[in-house]
Amino acid sequence: MRRPNGNIVAALVLIVILAMIVIYSIEFEELLYRYFSTKNSTGSRTPLLVYFGQHIWMVLVSSVIAVGIGVGVGIFATTKSGEEFRDPLLKVVNLGQAFPSPALLALVVPILGYGYEGALIALVVYALMPIVYNVVVGIQEVPEDIVDAAVGMGMTPYQLYKKIKIPLALNVILGGIRTALVINISAATLAAAVGAGGLGVLVVNGVRTFDMVLILQGAIPVTIMAVIAELLLKEAQSRLSF
């Protein structure tokens, strides 16, 4: 059932727009000035591309690490040898989700100092929460009788996970990854506040100096990125899960 899908089309259009904004960043800035000029200082700053690159890199690295750790830890917590750890793990996850993302980023500063590494760790930790939670819940929700049938047919624990549990939990797991990615794109904007760079620098500085152009230069690409991530992962969710 491969038909051109609304999500994909929308995502492609947005990707093109995003690419245009990044490539023609100077024209984009001029365009913004025409409509929202509050100040007329076309102060040449760091090119948008740099912030954009920092932002994407931060999101990608933290998400890849978080997915790796989160899926691993989550699966472990659903196995027989890991089931004792499930309860305490979910307590940590619940506590972690009680922290607002700016708070978590801010708390990294006293421990790890300002800068990129600290922000990256905070992003990984924050992205871990929805991933671990969804992996654990998704796998636990695989119906008992299906697992029973699979074990009764002689599947080893590894085969059980590979052929039954993970495919059936995939929808929920991908949902967790989607949440994590969207949260991460958003939280990475705040990373500017702890000196980690990214598109948030533009927004934060813009808000502080009340410079609309600056705000929009940062906010528009970030928003487009988040929507693209949401659309693509939603599509992946509906294609990969049965």
């Binding site: 940590v92 009680a98 006293p110 928003t223 988040a226």
Partner: protein, 383 residues
């Protein structure tokens, strides 16, 4: 069961002991500006530090030598160790007079780790303990009461975070108030907008996509971006006399309130829709058969049955908004976020904590009590 070794407790208490010895417990500064000196637990607490390590050792022993009452013992030792950790901190200040007569004590990594580990131990074992609900509640309230009373008596005076609190007491309560008003206000506004929207989507199948898709797109917009983007129309709106007179402008409470309200729409709207969808069609048919009008069905059947699910949405929106309102601090809207961002700008971890701790506290407490209320409502409605 309890006779076996407890891997979880073993690992947690082993980590606790490592954290105790390997990382600094506090950072002591002679005053606010100078960089401080990091001190390990034994350096700082001296002989008193032994009390903490005894707590950890008992936990470790409990994990290895099973007794029938391991769970209860682990909970109680966990609580005592945690309280000990907190209450010993000011005592240690007396040991480091060479740093200054009135040193400022900030928490350091070992403290955070031990608190987190103890939180995991207590929150894992307490619910399993064979104690009555009343005893558990009494223990929890007692611990917080002890903390609160000693705080108000000035016991924690030497802690830097309390010093910051002391200096900014009025600001603190003012911000707490603003944070609360912002949160309640946006959730209330969210309910007023989203519940009818959800109901409309339920009534008119055709509109479902047109209502729910925009709501979920709003939810994906990164919060800082939304706050920023809202500056544009709101500062435009602020030019008009009426809006200026009620304080609307690009900066301040207005963008925070609007953005937070927008974020509550999806959880509330979606749960309203699911709530109505989850009603058994037969019940509605039966009501129709009994001659109820459309309005009566809505009032007597549908709304009560959908209410628990809608309430879940409101709870989610609530919890999300408490945290989200931190960003109001960045756009000058006040609230606890003011401390967080001020702390970041001034490189003052204690100021950050002053903003974060109440938020986390209220999030956890509200989440717990709203969930309890939800359970109660579900019991009434469904059983």
């Amino acid at each position: 069961m309890a006779e076996k070794k407890d891997k979880v407790l073993f690992i947690l208490s082993a980590l606790g002991i490592s954290a105790f010895f390997l990382f600094p417990l506090v950072e002591a500064k002679p005053n606010r500006i100078v960089t401080g000196e990091k001190l390990f637990a034994l350096e700082y607490l001296g002989a008193f530090g032994a009390l903490i390590i005894v707590g950890w050792a008992i936990l470790l022993a409990l994990s290895l030598y099973g007794t029938k009452r391991r769970i209860e013992l682990a909970s109680i030792v966990g609580i005592i160790t945690a309280m000990g950790l907190l209450f010993l901190l000011p005592i240690g200040a007396g040991n480091i007079l060479e740093i200054g007569a009135n040193p400022r004590i900030s928490f350091s990594s070992s403290f955070y780790m031990q608190v987190l580990l103890l939180y995991i131990i207590i929150s894992t074992y307490m619910p399993r303990a064979a104690w009555s609900r009343k005893l558990k509640a009494a223990l929890g309230i007692g611990a917080f009461l002890a903390l609160g009373v000693s705080m108000s008596m000035g016991y924690f005076e030497s802690l830097s975070i309390i010093k910051e609190y002391g200096v900014r007491q009025r600001q603190f309560y003012n911000n707490l108030y603003i944070h609360g008003v912002l949160t309640f206000g946006s959730v209330l506004a969210g309910c007023i907008i989203a519940i009818p929207l959800g109901y409309l989507a339920y009534l008119r199948k055709r509109l479902e996509g047109r209502i729910m898709v925009p709501l979920s797109i709003i939810e994906t917009i990164p919060s800082l971006s939304l706050f920023g983007i809202l500056l544009v129309p709101l500062s435009g709106l602020g030019q008009l006399p009426f809006f200026r007179s009620i304080g609307v402008s690009g900066i301040g409470w207005a963008p925070a309130f609007v953005a937070l309200t927008l974020y509550t729409l999806l959880p509330i709207g979606r749960n309203t829709l699911t709530g109505f969808h989850s009603i058994d069609r037969n019940v509605v048919q039966a009501a129709k058969g009994m001659g109820m009008s459309r309005r009566q069905i809505l009032k007597k059947i549908e709304i009560p049955l959908a209410f628990p699910v809608i309430f879940t949405g409101v709870r989610i929106a609530f919890i999300q908004t408490i945290g989200g309102a931190v960003l109001a601090g960045l756009v000058g809207g006040g609230g606890m976020g003011s401390f967080v961002f001020l702390g970041l700008a001034e490189a003052s971890p204690d100021l950050i904590l002053l903003g974060v701790i109440p938020i986390v506290f209220f999030t956890v407490v509200l989440d717990y009590s709203l969930k309890a209320f939800e359970k109660y409502v579900r019991r009434i409605v469904y059983d």
